[in-house]
């Protein structure tokens, strides 16, 4: 798959069809997921607010998933010095920041009715906030260096440093303070697991979010490739 797509022309031909295909898939999955979301029974404790979960949990999952994507793209661009991988890393950052912000905002909206407060300094909330700061730092570093190749490589080093650090940040914050509920989707004890009426919409929404992320990512990589090609053409035109 990677070996096929490293050729920019093949990538452009593939992504031209794949980006809208992922978009349609995302729309279908999210539409069905939303239908399940609004027809799922109320939670015996949380009532209707449990439905926020289907918006919130996939966003938090995508926040981490997009960081892993950034890490892989950065690794490939740093090791193989491949321009397409760098474009992918650059295109990934605003999307990841947006999903992280979405997780924080929906979490606050859920926290108000359930915990009685918009924000608590709890472990999981704090580590997602640190992740958000990390995205901002990544975007700021890339924007601050004029030379694009150098900016890309410096940003890739920072992304890999972050990849090493994020688990440490996660566990350190856990050690510090935790109020957030534990894992339920992959919980060890059967009685702590999420029941299927909630698991199905959650899975559909998560897959829908992933497809939406994939579609937007491809569109953004394509835009970045076009931008670079236009820049090269402009330079050539100015030189001749």
């Amino acid at each position: 798959m990677f070996a096929f797509l490293v050729n920019p022309d093949r990538f452009m031909a593939f992504s031209r069809r794949a980006a809208p295909a992922f978009g349609i898939l995302a729309a279908a999955l999210i539409a069905v997921g939303l239908w399940f979301t609004f027809t799922a029974p109320e939670d015996y404790q949380q009532g209707d607010t449990v439905r926020i979960m289907f918006i919130h949990v996939p966003a938090a999952y995508l926040a981490m998933f997009s960081y892993v994507c950034l890490g892989i793209a950065s690794f490939l661009s740093l090791i193989f010095r491949h321009a397409l991988a760098d474009a992918a890393a650059k295109a990934c950052a605003p999307l990841g920041a947006a999903f992280t912000a979405l997780a924080l905002v929906t979490g606050a909206l859920w926290g108000k009715p359930m915990w009685g407060t918009w924000w608590v300094w709890d472990a999981r909330l704090t580590s997602v906030l640190v992740l958000f700061l990390f995205w901002l730092g990544y975007i700021a570093l890339r924007a601050a260096i004029d030379d694009e190749t150098k900016a890309g490589r410096a940003a890739a080093i920072l992304a890999l440093v972050g990849l090493v650090n994020l688990p440490v940040i996660h566990f350190s914050v856990e050690w510090w303070n935790s109020l957030h509920q534990g894992a339920t989707v992959f919980a060890a004890e059967r009685e702590n697991r999420l029941p299927p009426v909630y698991l199905i919409p959650m899975a559909l929404m998560s897959l829908g979010y992933m497809a939406a992320f994939g579609s937007m990512w491809l569109v953004r990589i394509r835009a970045e490739v076009w931008r670079r090609r236009a820049q090269v053409l402009a330079l050539q035109a100015a030189g001749s």
């Binding site: 901002l136 730092g137 570093l141 601050a144 650090n165």
Partner: protein, 221 residues
């Protein structure tokens, strides 16, 4: 004399010669400590609760101050090119530069930390834990901060950028140090927090030079 030792002496001499050594960072530290009671009120009860934490956080902030000149000036006048061409690997050069940064600012700040905490009303019995935390913490801050300084090479607005990059990375050591201090304040000794902080500092000292050297090479070619 080994080249790295010469480099260390050069870095220390430059830190004392051009920047006044630890004085600016110490003055900044004293400034924050002075402004804090003005902002939240002078009641000793209230101050005593937050004194160790504030002394610890101000240390993290003060160690950001002089990072900008760690690589920037050597990059501008070409010294960094010579260092990269020289005998010792660039990783070792970067480690020595970060070590000199710690000796010139982190170590004096660590010795000032208990004074600031006690002035704000922390019990003097906490002083040993505060010094140990500050020593290990400022070492980690110097190395992780050096990484930010190397990454920000060749950028506009270097100082602000370094802070934005580095502050999220400061989260674990700040948590471990703060945990050790609050454990010690409640009579639990604070060993587990100190051990975690020490482990984090050791990993930072071992791994940061690799990222620093990679970032310097990127800025040089």
């Amino acid at each position: 004399m080994s080249p790295l030792l010469v480099l260390l002496r050069r870095e220390l001499a430059l830190a004392w010669g051009r920047g006044g050594g630890p004085l600016p960072a110490l003055a900044f530290y004293a400034g924050i400590t002075t402004l804090l009671p003005l902002a939240i009120g002078p009641e000793p009860d209230r101050l005593a609760v937050i004194a160790p934490g504030i002394a610890w956080l101000a240390l993290a902030l003060a160690s950001l101050l002089s990072l900008e000149r760690l690589f920037e000036r050597d990059h501008e006048d070409g010294t960094l090119d010579l260092l990269a061409l020289g005998g010792p690997p660039l990783e070792a050069v970067c480690a020595v530069k970060a070590l000199a940064q710690w000796l010139a600012t982190g170590l004096p700040l660590a010795l000032a930390a208990p004074v600031a905490a006690v002035m704000l009303g922390a019990p003097p019995s906490l002083a040993p834990v505060i010094v140990l935390c500050a020593l290990a913490g400022s070492l980690a801050f110097a190395f992780v901060g050096g990484m930010g300084a190397a990454l920000a090479l060749g950028s506009r607005r270097g100082g602000l950028l370094i802070a934005v990059i580095v502050l999220p990375l400061f989260a674990p050591p700040v948590i471990f140090g703060g945990g050790a201090l609050s454990q010690a304040a409640s009579g639990l000794g604070g060993t587990s927090g100190l051990l975690l902080l020490g482990a984090w500092a050791a990993v930072a000292v071992a791994l940061s030079p690799l990222a620093m050297a990679a970032a310097c090479r990127n800025a040089l070619d």
